[in-house]
């Protein structure tokens, strides 16, 4: 190695050493950048209140297995009720008896896999002229009864069939629809993991057992000073139109006069400032 080569090599080595240490300094120079927060999964939810109708039971002394009229009544009352509810726009209606099979069949226990609430009922009395029944609207997750009422209707049956008069059942269906008031939206004013507090309560007709979904609007503050600073830094950037991201589904577990507490049964977690939409 000549003296010239050695000098060149020494210069190169020094330059490499200097750049390495300089880069090292640069890496250590700035404070560490934290990683972005864990994301919440986007959910696809049914925006309407889903209701499934179960076959009615019988509470009496007659032998259901041998009583064709009673069996017909057990089927016809839910069928007429279903027809009336499907005509209305309040609920998205599902015919429970045809959903799922075997252990996945639609029953009160696993109704939450298909719907938000189910309608079950009991035939109280069945005679040649009258048919009396009780119907209940029950939250599919908590099994808390949201509405219960009984009704006697004229039975226009012939032979072993059963044909309850639709008029009174129509009125009954409207009462069922009114049992779950339509509430537009609410804000999450406190959130701790899966429990969230909403800024609506009895004052807005919120009831225990009502269901809804949550959109990711939390952690957002429109601060004009910050907006100006962002624009000064980034310059004019294109505007984006964004849809609301659904990040959870909840049901109400406690209601006070102006607030209510809900439980997030699907989704990751709730954040302060998220928007809740009731079904």
């Amino acid at each position: 190695m000549t003296q010239q080569d050695f000098t060149r090599f020494r210069r190169l080595a020094l330059a490499a050493l200097a750049s390495t240490s300089f880069l090292g300094c640069a890496i250590r120079f700035y404070p560490p950048t934290p990683l972005p927060e864990p994301r919440r999964d986007r959910l696809v939810v049914h925006p309407e209140f889903r209701v499934g109708v179960l076959r009615f039971g019988y509470d009496g002394d007659r032998d259901v297995a041998r009583d064709a009229a009673l069996v017909a009544a057990q089927r016809s009352v839910p069928a007429v009720l279903l027809e009336e509810l499907a005509r209305g726009e309040r609920f998205s209606v599902f015919e429970g008896n045809n959903l799922g099979e075997d252990e996945n069949a639609f029953t009160a226990e696993n109704a939450h896999r298909f719907v938000d609430a189910y309608i079950s009922g009991t035939i109280l009395a069945e005679s040649r002229n009258d048919l009396c029944f009780e119907a209940r609207l029950t939250n599919a997750h908590t099994h808390e009864v949201l509405f219960v009422s009984s009704l006697c209707v004229p039975d226009r049956s012939s032979g072993t069939g059963s044909s309850p008069a639709p008029g009174p059942i129509r009125g009954f269906a409207h009462r069922l629809e009114d049992a779950v008031p339509m509430i537009d939206k609410a804000n999450v004013i406190a959130a701790e993991d899966r429990l969230l507090t909403l800024d609506v309560g009895h004052d807005r007709q919120v009831q225990r057992g009502m269901v809804g979904f949550l959109t990711a609007t939390g952690g957002v503050v429109i601060d004009p000073t910050a907006e100006e600073a962002v624009e000064e830094l980034t310059g004019k950037l294109p505007q984006f139109t964004t849809d609301l991201t659904v990040v959870g589904e909840f049901y109400v577990i406690d209601v006070s006069s102006e607030k209510s507490v809900a439980y997030l049964y699907s989704g990751d977690y709730a954040r302060l400032g998220d928007t809740a939409f009731f079904k």
């Binding site: 300089f22 640069a26 890496i27 404070p31 990683l35 503050v221 429109i222 600073a229 310059g235 294109p238």
Partner: protein
């Protein structure tokens, strides 16, 4: 280990279903860590398949997997302080953006990746390109979710690198007022004060950051720099 790697490689070639399967296997195969880079490139290459026919739901799922991969590389680069992971991360986020151009996660991830890349350089001549890209993608993320506090923090870091301290302070004030990103925001405040020679104020911010204590690396930085400042003040 090798068999596992080959299995993943094979499944990636069977696009587009294989991409999903390969990506899933990739995320659950710690044994072939060394080959992840190659596999990621393979996966990203498969994205450009012109025969790809995906439903919107399928595309959304694919973009989500790519964002998760981007975050994985970003996380690894963050822990090991290596530049190579950042390149893979940026490729993943860019592929996610090509499928879902309005993805907040992809814009934010890409912005953070370029911010981290910029921090590897000392001279403005070298970091200018990355900082410009970081500003663009973080700005997009801010506009996609207008008012979200998360991009505000990262934009404050960009402002600090560009030595635009007044903008950084405005952005950090917003975060501290809302109690968001408290630890890192105070660290950055401390850094600005230290740079401007206001050591007492800097020390106070580092104390606040250490008390906030999250995330861990920011807290460690705050404690170390708190000591640094005390020593320097003692030496004066």
């Amino acid at each position: 280990m090798m068999a596992n790697f080959q299995k993943i490689q094979r499944s990636l070639h069977l696009h587009p279903l294989g991409l999903m399967l390969g990506a899933t296997l990739l995320s659950g195969a710690p044994a072939c860590r060394g080959d992840r880079g190659d596999l990621a490139i393979l996966a990203i290459g498969a994205q450009n398949d012109p025969c790809r026919r995906m439903t919107p739901e399928g595309e959304r799922r694919e973009a989500k997997i790519l964002v998760e991969h981007g975050r994985f590389y970003l996380d690894r680069a963050h822990q090991q302080r290596r530049r190579s992971g950042l390149i893979f991360a940026s490729q993943c986020f860019r592929s996610a953006l090509s499928i879902t151009p309005q993805s907040y996660d992809a814009h934010l991830g890409l912005g953070i990746t370029h911010l981290e890349l910029a921090k590897h350089y000392s001279s403005p001549r070298l970091w200018r390109k990355d900082i410009t890209l970081a500003k663009r993608f973080l700005g997009n993320a801010y506009r996609i979710r207008r008012g979200d506090l998360e991009p505000i923090y990262f934009l404050a870091e960009v402002a600090v690198i560009e030595r635009k301290h007044d903008i950084a302070v405005t952005l950090l004030d917003t975060l501290v007022k809302q109690g968001a990103f408290l630890g890192p925001a105070h660290v950055l405040f401390g850094f600005i004060c230290e740079r401007e020679g206001r050591l007492d104020e800097a020390s106070l911010h580092y104390e606040h950051a250490a008390l906030a204590g999250i995330p861990e690396r920011s807290a460690v930085y705050a404690v170390e720099h708190g000591f640094d400042i005390t020593e320097r003040r003692g030496a004066r």
